[in-house]
């Protein structure tokens, strides 16, 4: 009796150690992965505090720490480091783009998801086809279209380019609208609500996740795009630039050895608003993208 008890105990013990070892390995593995994912970010943050203005090739951790890189790009602007100006420019463009793009995407998605009309499927196929052309190629033509509208070198032009074609990105949002029960809309219609009212008062309030997803995506666009922005804001006047052009410029051949650590500081500063937005809206973001993807 006691003997069997002892063996059971022993087996349990073994099972527990096995579990423990397994769990240890599992978490060790995760930790290694996490380190791989964090090393470059750590390098970014560390370098942004470095006293060395250029790239440090020899030491991962800089020899001296300073806040100078931040104070320099924030408060003493020369033509290379007009960070506050760039930040404002990008912020304004991002806000406008956010509003217009979100409206466009919702409108197109609702029309394709909830309205029935004859050219619907054709328009949808067409939009998929158009999406297959490489945007980079059309860039130069977009530039000349803007030039003909007298909108080059203006933030308005940039907003129009970002927002203009945003209607094409309706797919995920449409996938989400497709999940809104038809019965709900039918009922509202019976109550005499117009299509417009159904859109604004029933479907939109139900679509918070996808709304958030669309907002984040369109808000991030101006912070991350630099090719288009560089092409359109080509006057060479750096006070008109967006953050991405400015930071990209710092890594030019002639400047990189003097500005690399300030580039890193700029990179950290840009990440702050994006992280905040992300943390606040993460839950909806995931819901939106998965709900949309599940159906889209």
């Amino acid at each position: 009796m006691t003997a069997t008890n002892a063996t059971v105990e022993k087996q349990l013990q073994q099972g527990r150690t096995k579990k423990l070892v397994g769990s240890l390995f599992r978490h060790l593995f995760l930790a290694v992965l996490a380190v791989i994912w964090l090393v470059p970010i750590a390098w970014l943050v560390l370098t942004s505090f470095s006293t060395d203005k250029g790239i440090n090739f020899k030491n991962f951790v800089p020899e001296g720490f300073t806040l100078w890189n931040y104070t320099n790009i924030l408060f003493s602007s020369d033509t290379v480091t007009q960070f506050p100006r760039w930040f404002m420019n990008t912020f304004v463009v991002a806000c406008f783009n956010c509003v217009i793009s979100t409206c466009f995407v919702l409108m197109v998605a609702y029309a394709f998801s909830c309205c029935r009309f004859k050219s619907r499927s054709l328009l949808q196929n067409l939009s998929v086809t158009v999406n297959l052309f490489p945007g980079v190629l059309a860039m130069i033509a977009v530039y000349f279209v803007l030039k003909n509208l007298n909108l080059t070198n203006s933030h308005a032009g940039l907003i129009m380019v970002y927002a203009g074609s945003s209607g094409l990105g309706y797919l995920i949002c449409k996938g989400f609208f497709d999940t809104v029960p038809v019965a709900l809309r039918e009922a509202a219609k019976l109550d005499g609500a117009s299509e417009a009212r159904i859109f604004f008062q029933i479907v939109i309030p139900m679509s918070r996740p996808i709304l958030v997803y669309t907002i984040i995506n369109s808000f991030m666009m101006p912070w991350t795009d630099f090719v288009m922005a560089k092409m359109i804001l080509n006057s060479g006047l750096s006070e008109n630039w967006t953050v991405s052009i400015g930071l990209y410029n710092m890594l030019g051949k002639a400047l990189i050895n003097n500005y690399f650590s300030r580039f890193c500081a700029g990179g950290v500063l840009v990440s702050i608003p994006i992280s905040i937005l992300f943390v606040i809206m993460q839950k909806f973001y995931v819901e939106g993208i998965t709900a949309g993807a599940a159906k889209g």
Binding site: G54, I55, K58, S235, G236, L237, G252, K253, A254, N257
Partner: protein, 420 residues
Amino acid sequence: MKKAIALTLAGAMALSLAACGGSASVAASESTAQSGAAESTATGAIEDVTLTMWGAEEDQDLLRQISDKFIEENKDKVNLTINIGVQSESECKDTVLNDPEAAADVYAFADDQLNQLVAAGALQEIPAEMNLEDVKTRNSPASVDAATIDGKLYAYPLTADNGYFMFYDSSFYTEEDVKSLDTMLEKAAAAGKKVSMDLANGWYLYSFYAGAGLELGLNEDGVTNFCNWNEAPGADVTQAIIDIAKNPGFVSLKDESFTGELKAGNLVAGVNGTWRANDAAEVWGDNYAACKLPTYTLNGEQVQMASFSGFKLIGVNRHSKNVGWAMMLADYVTNEENETLRFEMRGQGPSNLKALENAASPALTAVVAQSEFASLQRVGNNFWTPAESLGSILAKGNAEGKDTQALVDEAVAGITAPVA
């Protein structure tokens, strides 16, 4: 319902496009209005003129200072506003050629871009009545040549030391050492140090082949190249470069890595231009010295390395609405006083002969010494990628062991290819 889409579509499109139609006609009427305004200037009224000037990032303060002086000096003739934009001189054509009409009225660029800018009609030929003779005589003949195509002057020479030369740590090398690359590499290897030159770049690679008497240049069409690097002794030159690249005392560093290695104390000499030489002067302090390029060993004989000479130029946009004032400004930026100021503030060697007399720097002396072996950069666009490709194969010591003759044959095929 479709009608409605089509209607609004047509309408809105018409609306937005009426704007572009409108702008086109506005542009036309503007030009007449302007010439009218200009005529009225002659009769007394002061005209408003806005100019944009592009210069390098590091030159912004200098250019602002010069512009302010220019505005002040001409305030009784014209009401000037000058905006200064950032555009690195080495990549100027990339921006200008995208849309010459949107480029600045006055812009600085490196002389290798001249033929492409002229071919694209982006540069204003300087007419005789705009101080042409003075510009030609006050600058060094080589710099005027660099700004001239078919006997027409297309830009104002700005600096004369935009080429490359050798600089070294004089506590490590004697003046005798730096005459031969072999000696230098040997000494460096023994001390565990390096001599750097960017082989994976047609600009520097040229110096070995040209030193051996091989030719490279622009055909008469102004876009395609001629090149005989694949004739004798091209294959041997290629082998010589491979040997140099494999030498433990040698390293082929890109500009971005150069300064880091320099600061880490790994370099004792480098072939580069003033932009990196300044970093070296900072690191080596009083031991910083510069000289012409050394000789290298080709088939057992010493061959002097050649080079591309380099000049910075300031050009005026042919599409400028105020070419006249733009030319006056470019002229002013490159006069004796301002080139001297540029030398003082930025350390760039003047092309202006009088300013040059008063300027002295190790780099400038080295450039003058090298000038005997330097030639103008008149190369079509198709040179760079094939040469870069050849250079990077050589810089890695020809790891695949390709036949040297085949290497230059293929490079020449690319360099001389028609422009597609």
